[in-house]
Symmetry: C2
């Protein structure tokens, strides 16, 4: 069954430099596809579609390879190209960060192709890249059952028409509160998500970082806080949103469901996966995570919500 | 049973002037005790301890009187004094507001006395006022079972020692995220609440406005988002926090319980009560609220959390 309920992610693999108020780290494995896949892999096998340069460290390849649920057949290493790299700084308010540099490298070249072996994938997550590239990926998954995309401020501003075309072709959107505001002009997360569902998608998830997430679906509304992490557990928020999406899509893929209640329940898995991601730089904490820990914290989270049975 | 599980609130009754981005209202019934009592009254009878001047409008008295659960025997009208009044302006980001004016009036005089008929009260909420006055109220409830207080930035700065003394005598604290930060120096809501529990109280609830609330109790941690309100439902956030505390304490009083699980579950009642408060200026929406509407939205909220049975 799991083999049939397959999940794929298209997105970036990056080499990150991260400054937090307390520490600086260089050469960290990053990128939306890396965090998504790492998070999803605890819930469903996940197929990675991404491209790196020949400068990509073997330590990063080994780190991804140790996630038993990740298939890297669609990870292309392009000779003579440089891997995408990103640097960012977080403030004391961990919901605030600034980008220090972005070296797109191989991302400005032709996108990777989806391997033939991935063509039967049913659950597809299109990580943030140019919306025309995201649209091209859709066609490479002819057996798709649920397609969800992310986007960012750059494409909202510079590729608005293509983004609107993309939205007409996806089932769902996952984006953060700032992006939802920029896309719709609406600050209220519920109203912004509702507006996005009028642009094509059946549902929109607005991520609010430490304040949780809101889902607006044609069949209902859902809302969840973030896992209540004390400050000494918040080491590096990078990748929280991508691994949230990974946990969410991983739960849907393992159920093989696309309905409102399944998506609503999937938010809690995304939330709990993200709560581990922020406990280390890069995906280090996820590398050490066990299924028992994940399930235990999910139960803990249900209990903390105080509305369980 | 309900009569014995009694609830009392001490706090302010005010005449508010409120500016929102879309509208301005003067002469609105306000104050922490008014909003607390209005919210609590749907869950438990509530005894009001407050003082107004002889300028207090009869329309406000009538409005409070129409809440069948509110006992106003402890509401003193002081001849020759002026009622507390407050003016504030909200920004497009409804979590942000500025105070335009505060005319303390009767609040700078002797505080009201707790009527003898209230002395058997078991659940006591000390709305925001000088911490020495709050401490004096405690002694007037000899049969108290659970005492919870609020505070504000003014007392954190100007009456810090008295506030720390008060904290040693209360069971719980309910305050907003800015106040928790100012009191503890800690921005993270979970860590700030945890710190407060080292100062005396068994639990602390940090209210985050549209982002929900966090409870840290010696026996556990709980977290809830706000009710997912679209922007056209958010008319005036004034009183949301006070009616949240009212709903929370009202639920505890009707159960007659003071344990962690009861407080955790009580947060959801506070959340739902507050979601009605913000739908109008003043307590107008609460005046029109029915028990059926309250219970229906509470069920809706449980469902929106996606972790129910």
């Amino acid at each position: 069954m799991l083999g049939r309920m397959s999940l794929a992610v298209t997105g970036t693999i990056g080499i990150d430099t991260v400054y937090t108020p307390r520490e600086r780290r260089e050469g960290v494995l990053g990128g939306s596809a890396a965090y998504f896949a790492a998070g999803a892999s605890f819930l469903s096998p996940v197929r990675l579609v991404a491209v790196v340069g020949d400068d990509w460290p073997s330590t990063h390849r080994d780190a991804l390879g140790r996630f038993t649920g990740i298939c890297t057949q669609g990870l292309e290493t392009r000779t003579g190209s440089r891997t995408f790299s990103w640097g960012g700084r977080y403030f004391e308010d961990v919901n605030q960060r600034e980008t220090l540099f972005t070296e797109v490298g191989v991302l400005q070249e032709a996108p990777p192709r989806v391997p033939d072996a991935y063509r039967d994938t049913q659950f597809v997550f299109l990580g943030n890249t140019h919306p025309a590239v995201q649209a091209d990926f859709i066609d490479q998954f002819p057996q798709r059952k649920l397609v969800v995309c992310d986007t960012m401020d750059l494409w909202i501003k510079t590729a608005h028409g293509e983004l609107l075309s993309l939205l007409k072709r996806v089932d769902g959107v996952v984006l953060n509160d700032t992006e939802a505001h920029e896309l719709t002009g609406i600050r209220n997360a519920v109203s912004a998500a509702r507006h996005i569902t009028t642009l094509g998608p059946t549902f929109a998830v607005v991520k609010k970082g430490e304040h949780g997430a809101v889902l607006v679906h044609r069949d209902g509304v859902a809302v969840l806080p973030a896992f209540p992490a004390p400050e000494d557990r918040v080491i590096d928020p990078t990748g929280a949103g991508d691994s949230f999406a990974g946990g969410m899509m991983g739960h849907l893929a393992r159920l093989g469901r696309t309905d409102f209640k399944a998506i609503r329940d999937a938010l809690s898995w995304g939330t709990v996966v993200a709560s581990f991601t922020i406990e280390s730089f890069g995906p280090e904490r996820l590398q050490a995570l066990t299924h028992a820990e994940l399930n235990e914290r999910h139960e803990h989270f249900r209990s903390a919500l105080g509305v369980g049975s």
